[in-house]
Subunit: 408 residues, 2 copies
């Protein structure tokens, strides 16, 4: 963890580590040089949260600002929640009641305060000022932005050009989000890469309210355990923040070496220098990659449970695997969608992240290193049909459970 | 004036007389057939009014609905007035105060109740329900319409395609206007032709609020005294509704025969059948065009003053002109913009409405029928340069004052 005694350049490196966009680093440096705590705003949906590690990339970036003494606003966007889905096309999003929103906020807090420091986090709700804007205030706000600027947002542009409807109120949400920054006098706004346009709207309108434009920073989407798709519940390639320590540890030990460095960057407080040092030790052979992976997994488990829990999980994992025991129930379950009636085993092993390609998998099968439901398989051209229950796949020491699903 | 004992088809003919757009006549007929009074909504700007006959075309159409027993809502759009000009580009439109708006409403009433029946007119203010909508209500309203639909409005389309900015709030005004129709449960909305798109937005969204779509009707822009440009204060070709009876009468007597029929249609309650009957009598020679014009002028003067005032004005006019007296000060003043250093006399006479064309004017000059500043002129190729004070032009008994201006 970085200490407040860092130089401004070191602070800048720590805060921007792993970010996709920083608009603009020079402005962030200027703000840091002033020495006063910055207000860092991050917006969250008011729907019921159930977080996985993918969500923690952004939370951890918030923590980095807290580490350096800044003030983080965890902003729940309940204004849109109170409206519900106004397009009338969906009956699945009725307005949330104030009680539901408060309940969701509590669920959020119980999860995010495993990473964030409650004492340095302001939890706020944007309905407080957006409702007070009134109809006139919203019209005045809408005067701050142009239709043509709005249509530059990628999804708007694509829909407009392909003739898919954009309801007028969709133009109001980026402006409402921008007004949040005005109200909060944000110095920095963080969000996922898909939020870049919306965050920049805040940047654009702040000067019209006699405020310095906020710095905009985006964090990347985290790759799931397969190292290919983004981490998501529906793809099954995730680690939930409320999972038991052993399960979390086992899942993290299944990732590739390459993905390990990515997780080191995005799921820990290691500085870039520290990660480079570990990489160097692995490269020169003084640290085994498995050890580096175990260190990573222990750090992450410790964040969501405790350091003793992490140590126990590491020891249990080590004991099982050194005894050659495969604890099937501890294996992560991936869901793999296929476009055809069945999928070749070699391709499946590669999709499941157990081989780097189908030909790599074929070679491993031919070398006798692959197992299906604990039985050795030797026919690389064997085909697997969609399954209801997970099948267990193994290549060497790596193992995973897979549900094969026909994409509809 | 039409009487309530008319058949539905006769009512339809009376109500649609002179309109440019009627969306849709069949729906209006259905509404009329039900026999219940209709709610007819017409919106007006909250800025200080100073009406001329051009504005009365719309007011008279409102009166036609009142003549048939319907309920007319004179709606002052004070919601936008309360916001002011939110683009920040203009310093000339600060928000109006509630007192200013009330004052402007009183000025409106003193002028429009010369045509409308106060007992059948509801004066209302849209801030009443638009402010109550709040920010959420406005977002929900904006969900009812698409960006692509909005960009079909001609001026939006032109600005978007030519790269001129459209501020997002400009999309909210047609929707606010549409919501007025929802709130008032309008059966019919009237407006000028330039309002067609906005009126149709109301039509489009009403069904989403479980209301029958309003019928939309537009009235044309009235040609000014010159018969060419639209009537406007800045062009000088207007008759103000507060002008003295003699001045009003004299200006109306200066219009061409062709324009007289247009004014008969748009500035009186004559039915189409009555106008056709007058036309027939003029065509067969039983009524002199000057008499028809005098009848028209008397009707209009009576609307804004009284029948005795109109008779007096007609008699005074007749006395002056039959004595060959030209009361220069009573002549209307037209402003005519020219693109060149000077304008030919023949062309000027035609632009001033004293001849049907430049060649007609040339013939009249050659016949000795034209005067410039009371002096007979015989050179049809004479050129007139821009003037500061009006020059008096006469052709036969027709006379007018003209300011020639160099278009910049």
């Amino acid at each position: 963890m970085a200490s407040p005694s860092l130089t401004v350049d070191e602070q800048l490196a720590y805060l921007t580590k792993g970010c996709v966009d920083v608009v603009r680093p020079g402005e962030l440096k200027t703000k840091l040089e002033r020495g006063a705590p910055l207000t860092v705003k991050v917006g969250f949906d008011p729907t019921a949260p159930d977080l996985h590690l993918g969500h923690t990339v952004l939370l951890r970036k918030m923590k980095h600002f807290q580490d350096l003494g800044h003030r983080v606003v965890f902003l729940i966007g309940d204004f849109t929640g109170l409206i519900g889905d106004p397009t009338g096309r969906s009956k699945t999003r009725p307005p949330l009641t104030a009680e539901e929103i408060a309940g969701n906020a509590d669920t959020y807090k119980s999860q995010v305060f495993k990473i964030l420091d409650p004492a340095k986090t302001v939890v706020d709700f944007n309905s407080r000022w957006l409702q007070a804007l009134g109809a006139e205030g919203l019209v005045k706000l809408a005067a701050r932005y142009n239709v043509a600027q709005m249509l530059e947002r990628r999804d708007f542009k694509q829909r407009y050009e392909s003739g898919k409807p954009i309801a007028v109120h969709e133009f109001l949400y980026p402006l409402a989000q921008a007004y949040d920054s005005v109200f909060l006098k944000a110095d920095v706004e963080l969000g996922g890469t898909d939020q870049l346009f919306n965050l920049n709207v805040g940047r654009d309108i702040m000067p019209a309210y006699a405020l310095e434009a906020q710095v905009v920073m985006t964090t990347p989407l985290l790759e799931g355990l397969d190292g290919v798709e983004k981490m998501s519940k529906s793809l099954g390639n995730y680690v939930g923040v409320t999972e038991p320590a052993d399960e979390m540890f086992g899942k993290l030990m299944s990732v590739s070496d390459e993905l390990m460095w990515r997780y080191d960057l995005l799921l820990t407080d290691y500085s870039v220098g520290e990660i480079d040092a570990i990489k160097a030790r692995v490269a020169e052979g003084t640290v085994h990659p498995k050890q580096a992976k175990s260190d990573l997994a222990r750090r992450i488990v410790a964040d969501f449970h405790s350091a003793p829990d992490a140590d126990r999980a590491a020891a249990a994992f080590e004991a099982r695997f050194s005894r050659g025991e495969l604890q099937v129930d501890d294996l992560p379950v991936l869901t793999i969608d296929i476009d055809e009636e069945s999928v070749g085993l070699a391709k499946l092993l590669s999709l499941a992240g157990l081989a780097s390609s189908a030909s790599d998998a074929t070679r491993k099968i031919q070398q006798g290193g692959a197992r299906l439901n604990r039985e050795k398989v030797s026919d690389a051209r064997m085909r697997i049909e969609p399954t209801t229950n997970p099948v267990v796949l193994e290549v060497g020491r790596k193992a995973v459970r897979v549900v094969v699903r026909r994409a509809s």
